[in-house]
């Protein structure tokens, strides 16, 4: 196989790599953010002595 073909392969796979990493990092970020927002909203409804984390 020629070098040019190998180079073409290399550029061809990057979009998949970028998409996969974006899904994982974006997904974790979005989930973390949503969880924290939910937590803050709920915290206001609960008396302080019931939400002491160690």
């Amino acid at each position: 196989m020629s070098n040019s073909l190998i180079l073409a392969e290399a550029t061809g796979t990057w979009p998949y790599v970028a998409a996969a990493w974006a899904v994982v990092f974006g997904g974790m970020g979005a989930y973390a953010f949503a969880t924290v927002v939910r937590g803050r909203r709920l915290s206001k409804k609960v008396s302080p002595e019931k939400r002491r984390w160690s």
Binding site: V17, V23, G27, M28, G39, L42
Partner: protein, 253 residues
């Protein structure tokens, strides 16, 4: 919305107005650092692979996501078992929190797997035993979350969920062993007790992937657990208020 400026890590210094604490703040910072190291090694410093060239980089998020989804399933099963045994609400919430995070990581596993399959195998999906059993695991986790969503008496709902939670373990075992038991398109594990079929910076990148994704998993489960705990308190307080109000007004039939 609050006016606090702290990011999604939560602010421990502003008192317990969120699911954050000093411990999770430190954990969060360490996690972000580890994720940075993962990007550095996984996307920049590690080399391309002989056959797959850069597509191999998907492995550094795919494999740790899969592993942590299994961990989440085991945690859910343990929480379910302890709940059924001792009626422990704390463990029931541990099961709930880890099931949701496990579902997220299973989704990551499926999506990154498809994105890895297309440039390497040539197809996004094939119904081999590994992919089929992984899809089943996703459905089972969604089933678990659905059962939790059905309005019912606390005990009844938790018991139903716990039974589904216990089924996660055999399913994970099938997923894990599918590549050994049956002929699959999916390759067998790279890391095993007999050694690693990967070396140098590629192995190190995979290692950083495990560390970073594990830390993220722990952070997410802790926060999700606290949200579930707060929900319980809100429900309980709501009920207390209702009863108190009714008593004050006199019973109406």
């Amino acid at each position: 919305m609050t006016t606090e400026t702290a990011g999604p890590l939560g602010a421990s210094d502003s008192g317990p107005t969120s699911t954050g604490s000093r411990t999770t703040l430190i954990l969060g910072i360490v996690t972000l650092f580890a994720l940075g190291v993962l990007v550095l090694f996984g996307l920049i410093l590690s080399p391309a692979e002989e056959n797959q060239s850069d597509a191999v980089r998907i492995m550094y998020v795919h494999v740790p996501s899969a592993t942590l989804s299994y961990v989440g399933c085991f945690l859910t099963a343990i929480g379910s078992a302890v709940f059924l045994w001792r009626k422990s609400r704390w463990w029931d919430l541990v099961a709930y929190a880890s099931a949701e995070v496990a579902a997220l990581f299973t989704a990551f596993t499926l999506v990154t797997g498809m994105l890895w399959g297309r440039p390497t195998w040539g197809v996004f999906w094939v119904w081999d035993a590994r992919l089929t059993s992984e899809a089943m695991l996703m459905l089972l986790l969604l089933g678990y979350l659905a059962v939790r969503g059905i309005a019912a008496d606390y005990e009844v709902r938790a018991k139903r969920a716990a039974i589904v939670g216990l089924l996660l373990v055999p399913n994970v075992f099938i997923v894990r062993q599918s590549v050994q038991w049956w002929r699959t398109l999916h390759q067998t594990p790279t890391l095993s007790l007999s050694g690693a079929e990967i070396q140098g910076l590629m192995l190190f990148s995979l290692f950083t992937g495990f560390i970073a994704i594990t830390l993220s998993f722990i952070w997410m489960v802790i926060h999700r657990f606290r949200v579930a705990w707060l929900e319980e308190q809100v429900d309980a307080e709501g009920l207390d208020t209702a009863i108190a109000d009714r008593r004050a007004e006199g019973v109406v039939s």
